[in-house]
């Protein structure tokens, strides 16, 4: 990848982050948070996107972002209250901004009419002219238009008489159309960078230059703290500036210039005093120039008297690498002598600034290729297996538990386990990345079906494996669409039922017993069981005389080809919805269930494994074969007595547990590992609870123990096996199969399971 493409890729990655920030900020505003922190974060996000887009010449994006930014600026300045009438268009604009960014990245295009509609909507709320206010044009180029500064190249300037200077530079940097001098307002700033500011590759000249665009600027360099060269820390910071900015710029704009360096400098901003009022821009420049020259001259003479030759050298050397940085990290401001700044450097600098600031804010993070993480996880998986094999060999060799080998091996096991946990944690990510896509979906769907919908999300910080997250998006999208389209009643019906006309869809995530549970709940009318049943009969999914419990009726909507919508809407599709959802959740090793209360709404509950890579399992034997049962499903293990086991009908058996009869599933028999049923008293029973709370007992020959196992796909090289979820490799190097408990139970229940209704 060429360097430019790489930078661009980084830009788009950062854009995604900014867009997330933007949306969550706007949503917070929508929910009534109008703190300046939130508003500023939103503004910053749009501004950064615009900035980067400008650097890459993405004009369409820049144009839209500019209008957006201008509107936000009004909000930020307090001229526009973040009322719903304002925030809603802003949210729509955020959607379009996201589309534009993606179009710019993937080479697609966005219907210009949409952008224009949103842009004029934004202009309408600010009362802005078509091309934006005049003072905004200053903002437009603020960061990204390189200033051509013509100064003699450093080499031409004799070291002894520094010619250059900040003042001249600033004079050159004056915006072309000078702001009206009669504008009374202005600000006095003191700006004292700390050494950290330079370490993060910030450049004071750029900041000063940006200030210069906000109005007439008077800059005074304070070099009084500069020590003699022998005492000078070449990476220290000794210079400060006193700056006066005249013009109508609000304080926020002034502070915005220092946005990314705020924590690395001492900055005071105060309204300008009356005493300097009369000065013209030229006077300012002249004074600044004189003062700067004076200081530099004084400095040089001090340097010469103190350090003589070596000092001269160090100034000369310092100037070369720093030539265009203007960074006083070098000993003297002399090297400040700024060569004509190349355009790309000027453009790159703000990007660097923002990156450094973002990194500082988010703590130290790195971007790593996912493949590398996956490779690491695979290797750790192998390590776990190898460690277990080694432990078994040592055990077989008959070494004492207390022998140094066995003790060392125990430590190795601990370490291995810790490495595995840490590596898994790398892949774990908050579900936020999926959840944050939903507000937009809700807005769009709600607009199409004409309902008022509020989305409430909870537990966005809940972490789960990245693969799970990625594969959650589609089912969740489907379910939320369904909740809005089918779950919630129309506004009129809600009012008639005495409910809040605004429907609520609640999306929540939480960890429960080693799994992540995600719920999609609506406060709509609940499932109309009569209709569901009649449709199922009509479509031949169930027998007309089938007697079903409420729960079974609710679960009918997961059957393939079932759709309750009287009219097929373009939102929820054509009745391929919920069975697809169910299948994709099952493919993730998850379960989905529904509870519904008439008039109060429905809740879909999905329970998913936290990771697709490891599983806590109970190792059991059934008919000579070693199998693994997922520990999460096991409620208890028990030793059945013959008196507790009863035959029921043809071959079926039930077991009485504390008075309740629970179906007994003979694992060896149902998997075909044995031809005759196992005598219950010879085996061990595992009481399991399936999804939806149904209980069953699995009968196995013996329990070997509990173990964390690495899940290996059977499907990769073979295919799906009924009753088996996956495979794993045990300590002896042999493959053991992991039971799919719900499938086993469902198969043994025969016609009771809704899935079977359709087949029969």
């Amino acid at each position: 990848m060429d360097p430019m493409a790489e930078i661009k890729a980084t830009f788009f990655q950062e854009c995604e982050e900014q867009l997330v920030e933007l949306e969550s900020g706007l949503l917070a505003m929508d929910a009534g948070d109008d703190s300046s922190e939130t508003v500023n974060a939103v503004f910053r996000a749009v501004h950064s996107v615009k900035g980067g887009a400008g650097a890459f010449g993405l004009d369409e994006l820049v144009h839209f972002a500019h209008v957006f930014e201008t509107t936000l600026d009004e909000v930020r300045a307090g001229r526009l209250a973040p009322s719903p009438e304002v925030v809603k268009p802003l949210l729509r604009a955020a959607d379009i901004l996201a589309d534009l960014v993606r179009a710019a990245r993937d080479g697609g295009s966005v219907d210009p009419a949409r952008g224009e509609a949103s842009a004029s909507e934004l202009r309408a709320i600010t009362g802005m002219e078509e091309d934006g206010g005049a003072d905004d044009d200053g903002m437009d180029g603020l960061v990204f238009t390189p200033m051509q500064v013509s100064l003699p190249p450093i080499g031409d300037a004799p070291a002894g008489e520094p010619e250059l200077d900040i003042a001249a530079l600033l004079a050159a940097a004056q915006p072309d159309p000078a702001p009206e001098p009669e504008e009374p307002g202005g600000w006095t700033l003191t700006f004292k960078p700390k050494a950290e500011l330079y370490k993060k590759a910030n450049e004071t000249v750029l900041l000063l230059r940006e200030l210069a665009r906000l109005g007439d600027v008077e800059v005074e360099l304070d070099a009084s703290e500069l020590p003699l060269l022998p005492h000078l820390d070449p990476e220290g910071s000794y210079l400060s500036w006193n700056i006066k900015v005249r013009g109508p710029a609000p304080e926020g704009d002034i502070r915005e210039v220092f946005d990314f360096v705020e924590s690395d400098c001492d900055l005071t901003v105060a309204p300008i005093g009356e005493e300097t009022e009369g000065l013209s821009a030229d006077d300012v420049a002249a004074i600044a120039s004189a003062e700067a020259e004076l200081d530099i001259a004084a400095l040089i003479s001090r340097a010469q008297t103190a350090g003589s030759e070596p000092a001269q050298d160090s100034v000369g050397q310092g100037s070369a690498p720093e030539a265009e940085s203007l960074t006083p990290a070098a000993p003297a401001p002399a090297p400040v002598a700024v060569a004509p700044t190349p355009a790309p450097a000027a453009e790159a600098a703000p990007a660097r600034d923002s990156k450094a600031a973002a990194a500082a804010a988010a703590g130290a993070t790195i971007r790593v290729d996912l493949d590398r993480v996956d490779r690491l996880i695979d290797l750790v998986g192998e390590l776990v297996i190898n460690q277990a094999m080694l432990a078994q060999r040592v055990n077989e060799a008959g070494l004492a538990r207390a022998s140094s080998v066995a003790v060392g091996l125990d430590e190795l096991e601990q370490l291995t386990r810790e490495i595995q946990d840490s590596v898994m944690a790398i892949r774990a990510q908050p579900v936020k990345s999926v959840f944050q896509r939903m507000p937009r979906l809700v807005r769009e769907v709600a607009a199409v079906v004409g309902k008022q919908v509020r989305l409430v999300t909870e537990g966005e910080g809940t972490e789960v494996d990245k693969t799970v997250i990625e594969r959650l998006t589609d089912p969740l999208t489907h379910m939320i669409r369904n909740a809005i389209d089918h779950g919630l009643e129309s506004t009129e019906k809600r009012i008639a039922a005495g409910k809040n006309p605004e429907g609520v869809v609640r999306l929540s995530a939480l960890h429960r017993s080693g799994r992540i549970v995600i719920e999609v709940a609506d406060d709509g009318g609940g499932i109309n069981r009569e209709r569901v049943k009649s449709i199922a009969i009509e479509k031949g999914l169930i027998a007309p005389d089938a007697a079903l419990t409420d729960e079974e009726i609710d679960n009918l909507i997961f059957l393939p080809g079932f759709s309750t919508a009287a009219t097929i809407s373009d939102i929820s599709g054509r009745g391929v919805g919920m069975d697809v959802v169910k299948r994709s959740i099952q493919e993730l090793g998850g379960r989905i269930s529904i509870t519904s209360r008439p008039g109060l709404g429905s809740t879909f509950t999905m329970s998913l494994p936290l990771t697709l890579a490891v599983l806590d399992g109970m190792v059991v034997t059934a008919g000579q074969q070693t199998l693994v049962a997922p520990l999460t499903a096991i409620v208890e293990t028990l030793q059945p007595r013959r008196s507790e086991v009863h035959s029921l009908g043809d071959g079926a058996r039930v077991i009485s547990i504390r008075g309740a009869y629970v179906p007994l599933v003979d694992v060896g028999l149902s998997l075909g590992y044995r031809s005759e049923p196992l005598d219950a008293e010879q085996g061990v029973a595992l009481l399991i609870e399936g999804e939806g709370g149904s209980r069953a007992v699995l009968l196995v020959d013996a329990i070997q123990g509990q173990r964390q196992v690495v899940i290996k796909s059977l499907e990769a090289n073979y295919r799906r096996v009924p009753g088996i979820a996956a495979a794993t490799i045990l300590g002896d190097g042999r493959v053991a199969l992991i039971l799919d408990i719900d499938a086993l139970v469902a198969a043994s229940r025969g016609t009771e399971a809704p899935r079977m209704l359709q087949a029969g």
């Binding site: 998986g381 070693t626 590992y673 290996k712 059977l714 073979y718 493959v735």
Partner: protein, 155 residues
């Protein structure tokens, strides 16, 4: 079912192996490695020719009893039996055979078309015949060696 053979004139290498009294060969490019027999974990509801799965350095490898697959009867594997690890489309599969005998370098014109015989097995798997030192070696295709996935629908 014999596909048109490509690379006319170019030599290709085949691995020949024995099942019972018959000799077969597959394209060497399809073969990943050859290893000794290790007991496999049986899979429930698998067709008789699927012996189960073994651990191949961390991957789960299904083992097909090639003799049973070709209708020659099930093998009774011993330590002397051999597993040919082969790539079939994008899956890896282990083929249980009696012994690997040779590597043959042949040109396409040495491969004779399969004669018309009634055997379903021949039509499904045999792409051609080779006469090597008076022995007949069947050149087989591995594309259909794993069970069809339509069983999944029936499950």
């Amino acid at each position: 079912m014999s596909e048109p053979l490509t690379h006319a004139g170019l030599g290709r290498e085949l691995i020949s192996f024995r099942i019972g009294s018959q000799e077969f060969c597959v394209d060497i490019m399809d073969v990943r490695e050859i290893r000794g027999w290790t007991p496999a974990t049986a899979l429930p509801q698998a067709p008789p020719f699927v012996r189960g799965v073994i651990n191949l350095r961390g991957a789960v490898l299904p083992i097909v009893d090639l003799g049973a697959r070709l209708g020659l009867g099930q093998a009774d594997p011993t330590a002397r039996h051999v597993i040919i690890v082969a790539q079939v489309q994008n899956q890896i599969v282990g083929l249980l055979v009696d012994a690997v005998s040779d590597i043959l370098t042949v040109t396409d014109d040495m491969i004779q078309p399969t004669p018309d015989v009634a055997s379903e097995m021949v039509r499904t798997f045999v792409r051609g015949l080779l006469a090597i030192d008076g022995r007949m070696v069947s050149f087989i295709s591995l594309d259909r060696v794993l069970p069809e996935s339509d069983l999944e629908a029936a499950a």
